[in-house]
Every structure is written in C-alpha cells, then in structure tokens.
Symmetry: C2
DNA sequence: GCTTGAGTCTGGAGTTACTACAGACTCTAC
DNA sequence: GTAGAGTCTGTAGTAACTCCAGACTCAAGC
C-alpha cells in the first residue's frame, strides 16, 4: 500500500522503456499524475507511477490513441470496473485496426502489382510513374484501395 | 503543349477532390509549382497543375509520405525516367506497408483475444484492464506484436 | 568542503500532413 | 453599382511526441 521507493525520471524511463521527454509529456497532458519532488525539484516516482506508465505503454503498443488510453485509465480507476464500457472502447478500436489492415492490404496489392509490372517493363518508360500519372481519378483509386 | 484553360483554385479542388487549403499547402511546401495569378491575385491553374496534383493524390492514397512523393515527382520530372530508382522507392514503401500490416495483425489478435476473454468474464474484474496492468514488460508486448 | 560530471529542470520550437479560422479583398452576374 | 460567392494572406491548431538551450541539482571522489 505505502510507497517507499522513490525513483528519478531516468530510472523510471529505464524501467518502462519510455523516453524521459515522453514521461514529462504524459504528465503535462494529465495521463500521469504529477509526482512528488525532491528539495531540488527533481521528480520522484513511486510504484503507482510505474504501473500506470506501463499500462499506458501497453495500450499504446496495441495502437490505442492517447484519448482512448485516457478513457481506459478513467475506467480502470473506478474500483467497480465497468467491463462493458472497457469492452466497447476496445471493440471500437479493434474495428479501427481491422479497417486499417484492409486499407493497407489494398495498398499492398496495388503496389506489388505495379512494382511487378515495373520489373517486367522494357525500360523506355516507368509503369509506376505512368500509373500515378494516369488519368483515372483519385476517387477510383480510393475505391480500388478498399 | 500550350495551356489555354486556366482555372481557379476552387475548380482545381473540385476536379481533383483535393481540399483548397491542401492545394495551397502543397504549393507552400514546394510540391506544386506556384501558378500564374489574375490581376487581382487569384491563382490560375493549367492542366499541368491538374496532372501533378492528381499524381500527388494517387501517391498519397497509396500511403506514400510527402517526402516519398517529392522523390517520385523529381524522378518523374527527369525526361529519362530512372525506373530502377522509382522501383526502389516503391519497394521500400511496400516493405513498410507489409510491416505495418504485420503489426496491426498482431494487435488485432491480442485485442480480439482479450475482448473474447472479456465477454466470457464473470464480471468481478475486467480482463482487458488486467491485461494492460499485468506485470509483463512492454518490450514483451512489443515482441508479441510482431 | 569542493569539484566534477551526469542527471534533471523549464520553456519553447520542430516534426507530419494537413485543417480551420479571421479579416480583407476580388470576381461575376444582375 | 452592388450583392454574394470565391479567394487572398497569415496564423494557429491537431496528435504524439522529440529535441534543444541554458540553468540548476545530485552523488561521488578527493
């Protein structure tokens, strides 16, 4: 319960793998509570900060935006954990991720195709450049990319 | 060869689907050459601008960064088109896209798993929050996410 | 007690690729 | 000549950091 160890920002950074500047940034934007300070003004972090920062980093690795992380942290902070709400945030994010995968796969296909044509090209002109300069409208390309 | 029609920025925006502000932005950062001006200072675009802007938009749809688009445009501008260099830019970008797809798929898996556990959960605590608060280090999560 | 070097502090600017104003001016049609 | 739509410039905001300068603090060694 009580927090005895207090570590400086550099140590927290090493323990979590986060950047020092990022830690200060998270404090500035209110994701990480302001820690205690030494007499000289150094930030002194306890285990709660360590846990919270790890939470943030794990959520970020999973692609949650800081706004989503904020929401998740708020939900996590409530002692009675509203699992349904957490699930809703995660599910919305999952849909987002799926959409991005679909978009990237479409891009991958077009890129791979064009590069392949490039490789087979005779050399007088570049199929990649041609494809980009071609008169078909970007909206058609966007359709293609879904 | 000669350009007779000259259209205002709004018309160019409608023709390409680009935003007016974006067109001015592309000019500011040097992707689109500064067009002629009317006596009152309005920008007047010709067909070359139209083609170039479409090129940029198609490349952006395929996920090329503006830096990459710049490189592609430079290569396209050379009369003798260095197909190999174009292919290199595109291939590098394709690798990037593939990497992002892999990352997102890993995210998708972890998210879907955790949400599934969430659905099956008894209700006393949230598996999603637990997973994020779990003591395993973010670097392990990152490994997981490849 | 003093010095040294590493660590930390704040505030501000830079990054990417736009987007969104405000307030002034221009163009076209009636 | 005037109304209303279009355009102009310049600045600031967005996400999520990252980097920097110049000042200060801390711990260790002598």
């Amino acid at each position: 319960m009580e927090e005895t160890q207090r570590i400086a920002i550099g140590a927290l950074a090493t323990h979590t793998g986060a950047n020092i500047e990022t830690i200060r940034y998270y404090e500035r934007v209110g994701l990480l509570p302001a820690p205690a300070r030494s007499s000289g003004g150094y930030r002194l972090y306890g285990t709660n900060h360590l846990k919270r920062l790890n939470f943030i980093r794990r959520a970020r690795v999973l692609g949650f935006s800081l706004a989503e992380v904020r929401k998740l942290l708020t939900l996590a902070d409530q002692r009675r954990r509203p699992c349904a709400e957490v699930r809703a945030v995660a599910a919305a994010h999952l849909e987002d991720v799926k959409g991005k995968i679909a978009d990237l796969k479409a891009m991958e296909r077009v890129l791979a195709d064009t590069i392949a044509r490039c490789e087979a090209g005779s050399g007088s002109h570049c199929p990649m450049i041609d494809a980009l300069y071609t008169a078909s409208s970007p909206s058609r390309w966007r359709r293609l990319a879904r």
